[in-house]
């Protein structure tokens, strides 16, 4: 039976623009919903599909506020079996600190009941908000596991995991012995929607809590701000199909027609 771990992060889901709080230290999420980073959502789906195909158990791990339990429950509603939350205080979370905490959490989970290493640890390629492109790599390195990022396909073959990654005009193939880790990208699969049965399972999920911390790293956020926006005057070419000649004129003026 394969044991698979997914690391997911709770992030706000902004609409047309992202607003920043008055102190400049966070996204103003007062009127926003929250979600799991899209790459990681696909990571959970991939883990569940592998477990369905090969037999296995999927554990989802997050470091975040208590409300991140919501993302663990969502994962359970689409087929994950266990949810582990490392509660984070509101303080700074740089990538070094986050990775050190995740690696320690994984060590604890692996040593509990002599469970042994997770065969596969699935990260997102990058988180949706901070997008540091490193927490997965650092965590895997801390655990001594091989990791490949940018993964758009996973095949389990006995003790090996074969992964593919897109490059210009094709893809490359890597092959690692498990235990191993991957950073996956959206598009590797199409995540399912929760079923009624899944929703019930997610309500029953007992969230495991691990209290852990690690020292701060060397990168400190000073403030968030919006980049300068380009304001453009929109020329309305018309309403409905009558606008077609005006559109064709524009296309001709650009030389694409």
């Amino acid at each position: 039976m394969l044991r698979i771990l997914c690391c997911v992060k709770r992030v706000p889901a902004p609409g047309a623009r992202i607003n920043v709080t008055a102190d400049g230290l966070a996204v103003d999420a007062a009127h926003l919903g929250f979600t799991t980073s899209p790459h990681e959502e696909c990571g959970v789906e991939e883990a569940v599909q592998i477990a369905e195909r090969c037999g296995g158990e999927v554990t989802v791990l997050t470091l975040g506020p208590p409300e991140a339990a919501e993302q663990l429950r969502y994962a359970a509603s689409v087929g994950a079996h266990r949810g582990v939350l490392v509660p984070a205080d509101g303080g700074a979370r740089d990538p070094q600190r986050t990775a050190a905490i995740l690696a320690e959490a994984i060590r604890r989970l692996e040593s509990a009941d002599g469970a042994g290493p997770f065969d596969l640890i699935v990260f997102g390629n990058e988180s949706a908000d901070s997008g540091g492109f490193q927490v997965g790599v650092r965590t895997a390195y801390g655990l001594g596991r091989p990791i490949v990022n940018g993964v758009k396909g996973i095949e389990i073959d006995g003790p090996a995991v074969r992964v593919r990654r897109e490059i210009d005009g094709g893809f490359e193939v890597y092959e690692m012995e498990m235990p191993a880790a991957v950073g996956v990208k959206e598009g590797i699969n199409l995540p399912r929607y929760p079923t009624m049965k899944g929703r019930l399972a997610s309500k029953r999920l007992e969230i495991e809590i691990l209290d852990l911390d690690a020292p701060l790293g060397g990168q400190t956020m000073v403030r968030l701000r919006r980049p300068a926006e380009t304001v453009s005057e929109t020329a309305i070419l018309g309403h409905g199909p009558e606008a077609a000649p005006a559109v064709a004129d524009v296309l001709e003026s650009l030389g694409v027609l």
Binding site: P95, F133, R138, Q219, R226
Partner: protein
Amino acid sequence: MISPVLAVLEHDRGAMAEAAREALTFGRGLAESLGAGLEALLIGSDDADLVAEAGAYGAAAVHTVTHPVLSDFGPEAWGEAIARAAGMLKPAAVLAGGSERGNEVMAQAAARLDLPFVSNCTAIDPSGADGSGVDSGSGEWSITRIQWGGSLLEDVRLAAALPLVTCGLHAVASEPLPEPVSPAAAGLEIDLDPALARTVVKDRVVLEAGVTLPTAPVVVGGGRGVGSAEGFGPLEELAGLLGGRVGCSRAVTNNGWRPHSDQVGQTGTRIAPEIYIASGISGAIQHWVGAMGSKHILAINTDPEANMVVKADWAVIGDLHEVIPAISAEIRRRHP
């Protein structure tokens, strides 16, 4: 004498990546603000053309690392090579391009060196921690980097014995020096653990190349407003008439109407066509960051207040199911 800035030269089997040219261009600016020189690190090759190109972009010296385990790209082997080279050369900073590979190998190097790594920087001020440009004496750098795929900027303070950074993709336009320099190339003796081969590329599959989404001159985009997979037929037709490609929003891929390879946005593709015709797309910020590289945007939407309409150069207010076929008919009429 201040030690040089070291730029990692991303290449794929000897073909220089655009991200490497950007890193060299960005690195020149950083070196200048430090009063330092710029040198380059070439991993898995000592190819004279690559060395010469590094010189054209300002590298005064190129350090090469060749080893059997570097026969092809491998994130762990590259990361280890960078970490070891940094230990030997003691540069003022190590910089790579903010591509998928660039960020990955720098994360690997940072993990090995147990140092911070600031990804996707757009500006670096090594002279002061408070952003004033005045040396605060703290030895910290002020850096601006991107979050949310470019929708937000983050100012950070970096305290590190050796700064490790990538420059955001297209944070600078690559620009060769007016006069190329001829860099001295020298091999670095680095003995790498053969076990690093565990993440080296095993195989490659080449797919048929056509007009790809990132390079298409025209992209006809469809969002939730298209309503179904079949609804994309008229968009395909229009894209075909214009020699372009169909793109879509995440609402569309999530519904399974189009493959993810068509998705434009933060977690999809960045496009840069002459014109992006965005129909039935509201223009959420995560979609916008993928579309904002378009030279011109035409929005088709029933809602005149939609963000895509507000941000577009031109808009047609109306039902895309009527507007798009009418545009195709008009094109056919003009070019029978």
